[in-house]
């Protein structure tokens, strides 16, 4: 018994000391490269990334092959990243924040948690896809689509809905799922897209009618497309075209609403206090470069921001779709009041 207890204690103590070593090794970082040199050798440095983007393993491998910078990443939703870097108070345990809802980036910018950097590659990117002061830079366009379960459509006897107006047909009552705009960047973009393109009055009137069709508001962004795939609802509003769900074999199609598709630029930003600042800048440059844009597109089906780079095949329809005219700075600034208005109308 004595021996057993001793062994147990040894394991615990050993475990802790081992954990301690591993921890300190993790936090050790390279000295920052001298800034004054024009070409900096970043080989062997490590870049730490908070990420909400698809196909990241392949993307980071390609970046490492091109620059020699090793990437360590952690998957987090934008809300989680924001809560975390706020608690870390300008001393973040990461260098780069990659992908997510543009509204959380704007909130972080307002809190002074982001580093400004205007990439030389940004001149090939339309101005509406990035922050003028360089606090965040869009790397691709996230487009909202209807994920429609075709089996369900047949059962309830309707054609595949193509427009926002189609969603209002009586057969779809209780059959449409979207996330709660107060927690979902996608849903907030839908909301502000509708309000900005239809105008305040008409916009709220439409949202009123749409609300009648929605059984409840999901509290995770990934829920609406999944529930549509499983046939729990007929239509799920999603920030992508559900390519992996289609690949899994679900009976779904994706539709860009013909009377206006909401979208937002998926940003990359450098965190203020980043240890590997030069590596972080190199990553932003790489994301916007021709090659980087192609690699991003090939591993996560979204529309590239750089002029002259074709959208992925599965998104070819986006060329015919009508993108809504959305001002993100305005949308970001009125977010609190719009969400509050929405909460009082449709929240619990």
């Amino acid at each position: 018994m004595k021996k057993k207890l001793l062994a147990l204690l040894m394991i615990v103590v050993f475990g802790f000391s081992f954990a301690g070593c591993a921890g300190s090794a993790d936090t050790a970082t390279e000295d920052p490269a001298p800034v004054e040199e024009s070409i900096i050798d970043l080989t062997g440095t490590t870049l730490k990334v908070f990420v909400a983007y698809g196909g990241i393993d392949e993307i980071f491998q390609a970046f490492e092959a091109d620059t020699g910078v090793k990437v360590e990443y952690l998957d987090m939703s934008s809300g989680e990243v924001l809560a975390r870097i706020r608690a870390e108070q300008g001393n973040p345990l990461g260098d780069i924040w990659f992908g997510g809802g543009v509204d959380s980036f704007i909130a972080a910018q307002n809190d002074g948690l982001l580093e400004s950097y205007v990439s030389p590659e940004a001149e090939h990117v339309p101005a509406k896809y990035l922050d003028p002061d360089g606090y965040w830079t869009g790397v691709s366009l996230v487009t909202v689509s209807f994920i429609v379960n075709t089996d369900r459509c047949e059962e309830i006897g309707i054609e595949t809905p193509q427009t926002w107006q189609d969603l209002l047909q009586p057969e779809l009552k209780g059959e449409i799922l979207m996330s709660n705009p107060s927690i979902s960047g996608t849903s907030y973009t839908i909301l502000s897209g509708i309000l900005q393109s239809m105008g305040e009055e008409e916009g709220w009137a439409y949202i009123d009618q749409l609300n009648q069709q929605i059984p409840y508001y999901a509290k995770r962004g990934s829920e609406p497309p999944q529930k549509a795939a499983l046939g729990e609802v007929t239509v799920g509003l999603a920030p992508d075209t559900g390519e992996s769900l289609k690949a899994e074999g679900y009976p779904i199609v994706s539709i860009f609403p013909q009377d206006g598709t909401p979208w937002w630029p998926s940003p990359v930003a450098i965190l203020k206090g980043a240890e590997n600042l030069e590596g972080a800048k190199a990553f932003v440059d790489w994301c916007l470069s021709e090659k980087g844009q192609e690699i991003l597109r090939d591993n996560c089906p979204r529309v590239p921001v750089r002029e002259g780079i074709e959208p992925p095949e599965c998104l070819a329809a986006i060329k015919e779709a009508k993108l809504q005219d959305i001002d993100f700075v305005v949308a970001g600034n009125v977010r609190d009041s719009v969400v509050e208005q929405w909460q009082t109308k449709y929240g619990e």
Binding site: M1, L5, L8, I11, V12, G15, F16, A19, G20, A22, G23, S24, D26, T27, T46, K48, V49, F50, D57, E72, Y73, L74, D75, M76, S77, G79, E80, L82, A83, R84, R86, A87, E88, Q89, N91, L93, G94, S182, I183, S184, Y216, Y217, K219, R220, S222, P225, Q226, A229, L230, G231, E232, G242, S244, L245, E248, G249, Y250, P251, V339, E348
Partner: protein
């Protein structure tokens, strides 16, 4: 000397005085070490539980450079409905889960039915509930298009709402409740039941009037744990609540969605009121419990009447069947071509698994093993400090050791960042802080399970040991720890399992590059790779179950008695060891 101890049962001070007369020189050094361990453990509780809690509560009154109670004004009136929802759901699921747990535990200890080992193994299995994947399987079975509800029964019921939350919480808390009650039922002095039967009582009235009251320490511990766990559970209502929300969910959304930490922290404080009330009730019951079991492990077992056996079997097997269905669904999901639609066999999801996922898995395993061993040992020592040593302020220590369950997971993660990211104590970015978070987050379970067992055990054995010259450490190691085996096991299983499956707190503490398995699983779900997430879920389930079963065998394996189901043999050997 022996006789004196008997006469002075329940009076440690007296016994200690006597003991000092006979103690050897060596014991004082050993007692000094023991004292040092107590101080260190109490200090660690203050450091890793109280300090982060204060750090986050400060956020609710001090923000934007101002000190204000703004968040608390109207907090109650604005959130009354949410608070009522929380209490309603927690109370319902607690009553159901503990009742169910009691039935299952009685089935294992008291009924004459077969298959007890199977039931015990399934209990260990159902402790493991990978988040989101479990929800997916629930929806697949009982959703609007669920295999059972829709295809089998032809119903088109809506599973989303408070009833769904209560059902899912009941199922997931019943297993832990059963294990905690089981730990106590196993230690019941069976001669008392025998006496009741000898005096002419039937088996039902013996069960109701003797057995269940004797199991009270375990039942109240299960009630406390289940209740505060439901209160702080934000995930289940998110997944299955539909339009129904509770305070914990709203607080969580305030952090992650509305970016309003002060408001969320204030809501968290509101959530602590019912949790605190339940804790006060729990303490009262524990303090008023009398020690009954000294001679445990008498061979005669209460023979229940046939129909009681049948009822226990019916409830238990329905529960087991219901649970197994869910796990079969998850298993199927890893090999089915398309989860929920196309059930043909396919290896594509397993082939899609990357090296990153395997590394994350190994990392999870390492964290979980260290956290479980350290956490259950610390939990046992705290239980001993609270229940036996009763230092000044022991109730506060017990409360602090319960606190982590009153706080929704993500809050504890953010609290750790707030507390350990700045001078004087910079620990963020280390693996150490991730593991410490896992240990202290799960401390309530091991301490409550330990307290339940100790409450039931008559302390005379320990006084006897002290009296015969055993020092503090040997008494704990040779007398207390063997009796605490079932509680130690619960602490280990719970900490190991939750560290392998939870995501809430540690997402804020792990650094990029040291991702854990659940984060990978969640990411696979987010991006629509449901099959891959099912594969990861199955890996987590299988490995966790294997470790839990192996550890159970290691802890509970019979030392003197061949019958493996009579684990109470350990108590007897403990007592015999003293004589």
């Amino acid at each position: 000397m022996y006789g004196i101890v008997w006469l002075n049962s329940g009076r440690p001070s007296m016994v200690n005085k006597i003991k000092q007369g006979v103690s050897f020189k060596g014991t004082s050094f050993s007692d000094f070490i023991a004292g040092l361990i107590y101080v260190l453990i109490a200090a660690s509780v203050i450091l890793f539980i109280l300090w982060p809690t204060i750090a986050i509560l400060v956020k609710s009154v001090y923000y934007g450079g101002n000190f204000t109670f703004g968040q608390y004004i109207q907090l109650f009136t604005e959130n009354r409905q949410l608070l009522l929802n929380s209490i309603l759901v927690s109370a319902s699921s607690t009553v159901l889960a503990v009742t169910l747990g009691l039935f299952v535990a009685l089935f294992i200890t008291h009924s004459g039915n077969r298959g007890k080992k199977t039931v015990f193994a399934v209990l260990l299995l159902t402790m493991i509930s990978p988040p989101f994947v479990s929800a997916l399987s629930y929806i697949m079975l009982f959703g609007r298009r669920g295999i059972i509800t829709y295809y089998l029964l032809g119903l088109s019921i809506n599973p989303y709402g408070w009833h769904g939350v209560v059902l899912m919480q009941t199922l997931s808390h019943a297993s832990l409740a059963a294990l905690i009650i089981l730990g106590v039922l196993r230690g019941i002095d069976k001669s008392l039941e025998q006496a009741s039967l000898d005096l002419g009582a039937g088996s039902l009235s013996t069960l109701l009037k003797i057995t269940i009251p004797l199991a009270k320490p375990g039942i109240i511990a299960a009630v406390l744990i289940s209740f505060i766990q439901s209160l702080a559970d934000f995930g289940t209502p998110i997944i299955i609540g539909g339009n129904f929300t509770v305070l914990a969910t709203e607080a969580y959304l305030n952090v992650i969605g509305l970016y309003n930490l002060p408001r969320a922290a204030a809501m968290g404080t509101l959530l602590m009121i019912p949790a605190l009330l339940m804790f006060v009730i729990y303490r009262r019951v524990v303090e008023n419990s009398e020690y009954f079991s000294l001679r445990v492990g008498s061979d005669s077992s209460l023979a229940l009447s046939r129909w009681i056996n049948h009822v226990l079997a019916l409830v238990t097997w329905s529960f087991i069947l219901f649970q197994l269905l869910q796990y079969a669904t998850i298993l199927w999901g890893a090999f089915a071509k398309t989860w929920g639609v196309d059930f043909t066999f396919s290896m594509k999801h397993i082939q899609a698994l990357g090296i990153g996922q395997l590394l994350a898995f190994a990392r999870s395993l390492e964290y979980a093993l260290i956290a479980a061993l350290a956490g259950s040992l610390i939990g046992m020592i705290i239980a001993y400090m609270v229940e036996r040593k009763k230092f000044p302020g022991y109730r506060i220590l017990d409360f602090l050791a319960t606190l982590p369950y009153m706080i929704p997971g993500p809050f504890l993660g953010i609290a750790y960042v707030l507390a350990f990211h700045d001078k004087p104590l910079i620990l963020t970015g280390t693996v150490f802080i991730v593991i410490v978070n896992c240990i202290y987050r799960q401390l309530p379970i091991s301490t409550k399970a330990g307290t339940a067992v100790l409450t039931q055990l008559n302390p005379e054995t320990e006084y006897g040991a002290r009296d015969l010259g055993a020092d503090e450490i040997s008494t704990f190691k040779d007398v207390i720890l063997p009796s605490l085996k079932p509680a130690f096991l619960i602490g280990f299983i719970n900490t190991f399992t939750t560290t392998m499956t939870t995501i809430g707190a540690i997402i804020f503490l792990v650094v990029p590059g040291s991702e854990v398995a659940t984060v990978q699983m969640f990411n696979a779900i987010k991006t629509g790779q449901i099959g891959v997430s099912a594969v990861i879920a199955n890996m987590i389930i299988i490995v966790t179950l294997a470790v839990n079963l192996a550890f159970s065998y290691f802890i509970l394996r019979p030392q003197r008695y061949k019958d493996s189901e009579k684990m109470e043999g350990t108590y007897v050997s403990a007592i015999e060891g003293i004589r």
